[in-house]
């Protein structure tokens, strides 16, 4: 009676439960990848197009300047500076405005205000980042963020 629930039983729950739910997770992962083409705006990424190449370059610039270390992108990253997943719409669907903002950052920051570095990007690089941010804004995010302020 004292042995009603044994160590072997809890071990079996562990192995069985883990295996079952991991397989279920794999199945959901598979299904997600089937559904993604409708949602992830991959048409924009076609490497055969100039836009696709620009976005790829933009994503790499995004990474190599660690923009995620201050900003969130679709709600993930750091919480020090504005969400950028929808900055394209916030800036009135204007890539020029985004490029202008990044280009215009003062080298020594703004006294007393949270500051964004001057990255000294070329016009081509700025265009790539802006194109990347437009692509992100066109991903179907189930209506997130709740409003334009991100």
């Amino acid at each position: 009676m004292a042995q009603a629930f044994t160590k072997e039983m809890s071990r079996n729950i562990f192995y069985g439960g883990t295996a079952f739910f991991f397989l279920l997770f794999l199945a959901l992962t598979f299904d997600t990848h089937l559904a993604l083409p409708e949602r992830d705006n991959r048409a924009a990424l076609d490497p055969a197009t100039e836009r696709g190449q620009l976005i790829a370059q933009g994503k790499q610039l995004w990474e190599e300047n660690d923009c995620i270390g201050c900003h969130t992108l679709l709600g993930e990253g750091a919480y020090f500076a504005p969400e950028l997943g929808n900055v394209y719409t916030r800036y009135g669907n204007s890539k020029e405005a985004i490029m202008g903002f990044i280009k215009g950052r003062p080298k020594d920051g703004i006294p007393g205000r949270r500051s964004m570095p001057q990255f000294n990007l070329s016009d081509e690089e700025l265009a790539a980042i802006a194109e990347f941010l437009q692509y992100v804004s066109e991903i179907d995010t189930a209506n997130w963020p709740p409003n334009i302020q991100g």
């Binding site: 997770f25 959901l28 993604l36 190599e64 679709l74 993930e76 963020p145 302020q149």
Partner: protein, 479 residues
């Protein structure tokens, strides 16, 4: 000498380096905490993002160092045999430490884009994603260290006694290495990138790391309570069963708003809402075992850390996690200060504290005594309370900031812009900074406790044996 297997001593440098990096982590935490309210502090020399990656990467690396130290200490004892290759463990320590130091130097000395260029990020771009900022070669270095480590630990377990504790630890460590491999996968498609990024980040902290946590906690509890191994092992299996049953599909709580299908709002909400269960079980388990103890181990501080881990992990991961995990709530709180509040208490409660628990238990033994002097323990327990209360306040202030942020920026009829809102909630960030200074003071007290003479005084010795200390009794019999 009080430790049984000579090779357990290789754990010591890992623990020392872990604490060193812990100090760096907190100093940089204070820098970014200050930059929150004093925007151009240290700008442009150390921009926020750079200091932040030092803060988070130092955290992760020191936790890994601590896990490795824990494994090198615990596995020989559990396996009742010497470590397979002690020299390899020492060598890998230096490789790991030098790689970490070079990486931090790279962060601080050159612009990140330059670091990416000189480390050949072009060849295999993996940098510039949260928590995975390390240059690709550093990541490869981590893989090498992890493989050597797993080989060493695995061989030791193979040739010795196989216990549930060491088996669960090994599964956790293998999982850690396997899921780290997803950090090398960085497709252009942002949704794919984010989807697989969580296989490293979520499946670490809410999956395999919990196995490591459970195993170390079980080990410390076996040692300090003397409770029958069978009972502890049964609990351990049940806890980690619940962890993975809820936590694997619980990954879905990160798949609500990143372009993934909407059914994740159901899968993620339901399964992650159950994730607090294993943490709750851990708390019940730890208190139960201590209440049922069959010996009074003289190391009170280690027992306190073990109990503290269970409670704070439940609060930080379980309660603060649950707070924002349901999709309709997360819609508003996603990527806000609420996330940061939870991140702090969960990381501290679960992974910082379990490391400090095993350090508290093992280091006195590695220094040749069963436990530290009363005085050293009292100081260590002060440090426990100072750090723990500080993190509670950091969490509460960030939660306050988060609630206001969510309301003003996302919920009210006239949503304000991000920067305007940040200005309005500045007070909470000042308070967080003050609590952070409290944390640093706690950390200084903690380090001080290592320098207090640790030998039991003659007056304390007989009292210890009268308490029926197992080891004391064995030694007395042997003598």
């Amino acid at each position: 000498m009080t430790f049984k297997y000579q090779s357990q001593a290789v754990a010591m440098p890992y623990f020392i380096a872990a604490i060193g990096l812990f100090v760096a982590q907190i100093l940089f935490g204070l820098i970014i905490g200050l930059q929150y309210v004093w925007g151009d502090f240290l700008f442009p020399e150390i921009p926020f993002n750079v200091a932040r990656m030092v803060h988070t990467n130092a955290l992760i690396v020191w936790l890994l160092m601590g896990f490795m130290g824990a494994a090198y200490y615990l596995v020989p004892e559990e396996s009742e045999t010497e470590l397979h290759m002690p020299w390899l463990a020492t060598l890998m320590f230096w490789v790991f430490l030098v790689a970490a130091a070079l990486t931090v130097a790279g962060y601080l000395l050159v612009p990140y884009a330059t670091l990416a260029e000189i480390t050949g990020n072009d060849l295999l771009p993996t940098m510039g994603r949260e928590f995975l900022e390390q240059p690709t070669i550093t990541k490869l270095g981590i893989v090498v260290v992890a493989l050597a480590f797993l080989f060493n630990i695995g061989m030791t377990i193979l040739k010795g006694r196989k216990t549930v504790v060491s088996l669960v630890l090994l599964m956790g460590l293998v999982g850690l290495a396997v899921f780290f491999l997803f950090s090398f996968f960085n497709p252009t498609n942002l949704v794919h990138d984010k989807f697989w990024w969580w296989w490293t980040v979520h499946l670490w902290v809410e999956g395999v790391w919990e196995l490591i946590l459970g195993a170390i906690l079980a080990f410390v509890l076996i040692k300090v309570t003397g409770v029958d191994r069978e009972i502890i092992e049964k609990w351990l299996y049940l806890i980690i069963a619940m962890t993975l049953i809820t936590g694997i599909i619980g990954t879905g709580h990160h798949y609500y708003w990143i372009g993934t299908p909407e059914y994740w709002q159901w899968w993620g909400s339901v399964f992650s809402a159950l994730e607090p269960i294993p943490f709750f079980m851990m708390t019940v388990f730890a208190f139960n075992m201590v209440n049922k103890r069959r010996r009074n181990h003289p190391n009170k501080a280690a027992t306190l850390w073990a109990l503290g881990t269970a409670v704070m992990a439940f609060l930080g991961a379980g309660v603060w996690g649950f707070l924002h995990t349901l999709a309709p709530v997360n819609y508003y709180t996603h990527g806000s200060q609420i996330t940061a509040a939870h991140g702090h208490m969960a990381f501290y409660g679960a992974y910082v504290m379990i490391n400090l628990a095993i350090i508290s238990y093992a280091v006195p033994i590695l220094r040749g005594r069963e436990a530290n002097s009363e005085k050293a323990q009292v100081v260590e327990m002060w440090a426990f309370w100072l750090m723990t209360v500080s993190i509670v306040f950091i969490t509460l202030f960030l939660t306050g900031a988060g609630i206001l942020q969510v309301y003003l920026q996302r919920f009210s009829d006239n949503p304000l812009s991000f920067m305007v809102v940040q200005d309005k909630i500045e007070l909470f960030y000042w308070l967080r900074f003050v609590a952070g200074v409290g944390f640093l003071i706690g950390l200084v007290v903690y380090i001080w406790s290592f320098f207090i003479p640790g030998e039991k005084t003659a007056a304390e010795m007989p009292a210890m044996e009268a308490q029926g200390s197992e080891r004391g009794a064995v030694e007395a019999a042997a003598g």
